[in-house]
């Protein structure tokens, strides 16, 4: 299936959000959103991923 992670379309076999992040090598202190809605870290293992899903994985960054 095709999913989008941080704006980049990619093939994935992930069944859950946690697996999709691992596939993409996204670790460390990040927060996630699926199709525009926040998904807490505690729910990543049980949040299913479907064809066409858009994932955002955000990290601490400089800000004003």
């Amino acid at each position: 299936m095709r999913i989008t992670i941080n704006g980049t379309p990619q093939d994935s076999t992930a069944a859950t959000l946690a697996q999709a992040l691992a596939e993409a090598g996204l670790t460390g202190r990040i927060a996630t959103a699926l199709n525009g809605s926040f998904v807490p870290a505690t729910l990543r293992e049980t949040t299913p991923i479907r064809d066409g899903d858009a994932i955002e994985a955000l990290a601490p960054m400089q800000g004003g």
Binding site: A33, F38, L58, A59, P60, Q62, G64
Partner: protein, 253 residues
């Protein structure tokens, strides 16, 4: 010292973390500034996020994540929820941008997002205009801090509407007020503090100075002077001269 949602902060200077020439210069600027709060953001992870996290942990300041770049209440709410988890704080500098040229807040989306986030337990620091009625709506929505702009973000223009800012101070004597954005020089920051603002939030004025650490020190000194001047109860202004040297006893020559 400012009190935000019951927490006393050691300094009225709140400093942003963006746009410094290097991480070391950022750390030096924070050390010189004595800032008590650092603003931070969330962006797509591209490798630098974890190093930045380590850096800000070392600064010894309270973190205030922002929702910079959000143009709708929905985006801002989601970003705030993500920031709460990543930074481990329910403080959020709420930005809902309405105009891409001026980065002026969309005050309608701002009030909507502030209401949602306050209901979810966030302690909202809204980046707003100096509009009195908008500020009343933000307080109604649950905000206990207001952060009106001095001038557009990154412009360095100073306090564009000092009358409006003074009116806010007079209208809300018991609300924590912060001038956020537009500060370019220490004199701008001092002016805000002289008006009785509780704190000043700035970033570009320090980060884009030729010597950020030195400018951070200058800002800290100006803010301290402005605060002390406010507490000293400045004299009234008059349009005409009033002689300071006694008139009585003047020689008749």
């Amino acid at each position: 010292m400012p009190v935000f949602y019951g927490t006393t902060i050691d300094s009225p200077l709140m400093l942003g973390t963006a746009g410094y020439p290097s991480p070391k210069i950022l750390a030096d600027a924070f050390a010189r500034s004595g800032a008590g709060v650092a603003t931070v953001s969330l962006r797509r992870e591209s490798g630098g996020g974890q190093d930045f996290w380590a850096l800000i942990q070392s600064l010894g300041v309270v973190l205030l994540p922002n929702t910079a770049g959000c143009h709708t209440a929905r985006e801002a709410v989601t970003t705030a929820q993500m920031a709460r988890e990543v930074f481990g704080t329910d403080w959020i500098k709420l930005e809902v941008i309405g105009n891409t040229d001026t980065l002026q807040p969309d005050v309608f989306g701002l009030v909507e997002a502030a209401r949602i986030l306050s209901a979810e337990g966030f302690k909202v620091f809204p980046y707003c205009t100096e509009d009195l009625v908008v500020c009343e709506r933000l307080l109604d929505a649950g905000c206990q801090v207001l952060m009106p702009w001095g001038a557009p973000i990154g412009s360095g223009l100073g306090l564009n509407n000092p009358h409006g800012l003074r009116a806010l101070r007079a209208a809300f004597p018991d609300v924590a007020l912060v001038v956020d954005a537009g500060i370019g020089l220490p004199s701008h920051a001092a002016a805000a503090m002289e008006m009785g603002f509780d704190a000043v939030l700035l970033n570009s004025a320090v980060a884009r100075a030729g010597d950020p650490a030195a400018m951070a020190g200058a800002m800290a000194a100006a803010i301290r002077a402005g605060r002390e001047a406010c507490l000293a109860d400045p004299m009234e202004r008059t349009d005409m001269a009033i002689p300071s040297t006694p008139v009585i006893g003047r020689a008749f020559l």
